[in-house]
């Protein structure tokens, strides 16, 4: 698991999971959407506490390897300012058969979203901005 402030090279990332014994690869990409909860989003900023994001991410990947019969898995999360359509998070899993790759990929992204110290601030068309999932900023909008 890595945190990066530059664009994610997805082709290169999945290439690293290719293994001559692997028959299946499942991948997930999270992209910056132009709308969230009815607000038009212009730009998005991820604040990441990298030491724990990376250690907790590695723990999630380790858990996935223990729970599912997979060969390898990786995850990358962006930090900093992102434009609409950019890839914010990438998860890839290789396995011998496909069901395990799908299950593990889903496990990893589900846990990345709730366990890693990452915060998302959206900048809206009307000039407002808000931290996603924070009740205070939601109430203030």
């Amino acid at each position: 698991m890595k945190v990066t402030s530059s664009g994610i090279d997805i082709a290169m990332c999945s290439q690293q999971l290719i293994n001559s014994g692997a028959g299946a690869f499942a991948g997930f990409e999270g992209w910056v959407r132009n709308y969230n909860d009815g607000h038009k989003v212009l730009q998005l900023e991820y604040e990441v506490y990298t030491p724990i994001a990376e250690s907790e991410g590695r723990k999630i990947i380790q858990e996935a390897k223990e729970r599912f019969d997979i060969l390898d898995a990786q995850g990358i999360h962006r930090s900093g300012l992102l434009e609409i359509g950019e890839c914010a998070v990438w998860v890839g899993v290789s396995s011998v058969h496909r069901n395990e790759a799908f299950d593990a990929c889903r496990y990893i992204i589900d846990h990345i979203k709730v366990r890693l110290p990452i915060w998302k601030k959206e900048y809206y068309e009307n000039g407002d901005s808000g931290w996603v999932n924070c009740e205070q900023c939601a109430a203030a909008m």
């Binding site: 999270g30 991820y46 604040e47 990441v48 506490y49 030491p51 724990i52 994001a53 250690s55 907790e56 999360h77 914010a88 998070v89 992204i109 990345i112 979203k113 709730v114 366990r115 890693l116 110290p117 990452i118 915060w119 998302k120 601030k121 931290w131 996603v132 999932n133 924070c134 009740e135 205070q136 900023c137």
Partner: protein, 81 residues
């Protein structure tokens, strides 16, 4: 006995507190007690159960004990992905 604790604020907590970190002198024993003390001072209005905490770069929970010299990281509700 008073402890010296470094508290680090992230995201909305940093914006509310107006600082990214501070060293405080406190008598509290647990992370939850520390959070309640700082909540009022800095208007950290997120429910405790939606927030996370780490001590010296290890994730902890709200029953974890803090000791003199610890660095406590206060994480508001996360939104990765």
């Amino acid at each position: 006995m008073n402890k010296l604790i470094t508290v680090v604020y992230f995201a909305i907590f940093r914006e509310k507190a107006g600082i990214s970190e501070e060293v405080i002198s406190t008598t509290v024993n647990s992370t939850a007690e520390l959070f309640r003390e700082l909540k009022d001072r800095h208007k950290l209005n997120e429910p405790l159960g939606h927030c996370k905490v780490a001590i010296n770069d290890d994730l902890a929970d709200w029953e974890s004990k803090i000791k003199d010299g610890d660095t406590v990281l206060l994480f508001p509700p996360v939104a990765g992905g």
